[in-house]
Symmetry: C2
Subunit: 191 residues, 2 copies
Amino acid sequence: MTPAARRVLEAAARLFYERGIHAVGVDLIAAEAGVTKKTLYDRFGSKEQIVVEYLADRDERWRAFLAQCLDAAQPVSAARVLAVFDASRAWSAKNSSKGCSMVNAHAEISDPAHPAYPIITGQKEWMLALFTDLAGDIAPGGAVQLGRTLMLLHEGALVAHGLHIFPDPISHAREQAQTLLATTGGAAAKR
Amino acid sequence: MTPAARRVLEAAARLFYERGIHAVGVDLIAAEAGVTKKTLYDRFGSKEQIVVEYLADRDERWRAFLAQCLDAAQPVSAARVLAVFDASRAWSAKNSSKGCSMVNAHAEISDPAHPAYPIITGQKEWMLALFTDLAGDIAPGGAVQLGRTLMLLHEGALVAHGLHIFPDPISHAREQAQTLLATTGGAAAKR
DNA sequence: TCAGGAGTATACCGATCTGTATAGTGAGCC
DNA sequence: GGCTCACTATACAGATCGGTATACTCCTGA
């Protein structure tokens, strides 16, 4: 990726997240990136493609960040679940003051045929699979159930964080997850 | 409100929710409502005002629907909490296949100075107050804590419902709320 | 009867939208 | 020297954006 293309993607990412995808035009993106529209179209071909790469890049970075956080966590499933919430809190503090970018993008992209759609649903499916996987070690019989509950707590926390309805909702969700794991997993949580 | 104005608001509500606010122009709204732009502007004055009335109307209808559901529920706080989830499930089934309209609008309206902003945050604050109020009867010492947890479960369920990541997330959230109330409230929940 | 409100039809405004065209500059590379 | 690639500058296309203007019809109520 050329330097100009990177600047375009960075400008687009910031503008799309802060103002919304449909509210931002390519002229503004080009201007903010210090690039002409010609360059922008030479590199990306269309605004839609910039949207796709914006979401794909953000998805990739989040997964890499989370993987790094999980590597640093203890190899115990209960601790790893809590590490996911810790990762979300750290990530949201500096990247997501307006809530989850995938959820926000989903509000604007309704057509399932849109090339960005699978990126959005893909991340959520991946997160659910992660929670369910970890839940399987804690409560083998109720992995699906527990995984879904963790997913709800996590998604709710991201929304609450973006809406600023009460302070530090992600930490609150983490605590709730902790007590949930303690009561659900029992001795398995301490394995 | 004149018949034409009502048709405009109905068309705008449907289009805004399904396609996003910024993605829908006034020409389309007028055409779908079977109304000229002249009439539209005579009644509402601006697109922004239509957005405000769309959200205010939806907020009002949701509160009225919820109040009706709560009136039909047993006068026991634990039952009433579950009634909120039941109301959400019924409401979402026919009005919110794409998730919470307030959350979706928040993705597009970032400016706190926008006249629609207080409607969005107002509904969420009201819901949190409702949960906290009901939680106060169940666990007087931890009303704030419990209210926030219920809020997270509820918001998470709405997001999960809109994203279709697993079937019937609102019922799942309801069940989790139920076990949460049983363990937190203890005997008080059965009062 | 007639005034006024609700509505239609149509044309227009300047601005902005996504996307394309032509022309040219500068650096690195064989 | 020549060639390619990344990039700039500028202008423009066709469509749509929010919003306004003029001129008209229909219906209701005093």
